[in-house]
Symmetry: C2
Subunit: 110 residues, 2 copies
Amino acid sequence: MITLDWEKANGLITTVVQDATTKQVLMVAYMNQESLAKTMATGETWFWSRSRKTLWHKGATSGNIQTVKTIAVDCDADTLLVTVDPAGPACHTGHISCFYRHYPEGKDLT
Amino acid sequence: MITLDWEKANGLITTVVQDATTKQVLMVAYMNQESLAKTMATGETWFWSRSRKTLWHKGATSGNIQTVKTIAVDCDADTLLVTVDPAGPACHTGHISCFYRHYPEGKDLT
């Protein structure tokens, strides 16, 4: 069993969310131990909102739930990669992915 | 032009590195302003090592340089997604991706 390194980032694990089918990277968010436990128990993504300082069930408001397909951990056990089947766009802007703009120009990616 | 939010994580931007061809997520690392400038100038990935507190040219030792294809920024401008053509494995363990283990069992992904 893997022991995650919760100490490196003050109790948070950086989490990359990727579409299990298209392989598009949808978003990056943060999990604390409680949100990871809820993700494992429910099979849907839960995060910790750093700005609102609350647990956050992805899609609870928008309906765009993310159903977890696989969870992988990186070599130093401080980051997770979660593949999901999303019920709708990941981004609050309505884009499929939060990474919808080129850097640095800011033009939308097609 | 996009202004990145360098303040949210003490001068660092979380960076997801994805294979431009296979779409496999290879690693997550951190850039400060200098490493992002070097990445943009050279077309190869440079990061900031949080543990060693040094700039880090990916592949400088191993030869496994990552040639940058695209850079995207997320909706709140605190995370980058860099797609690359990697010259070899991203992980120091020799795995193509640092995300080579299932969580929580730890079994290798095939």
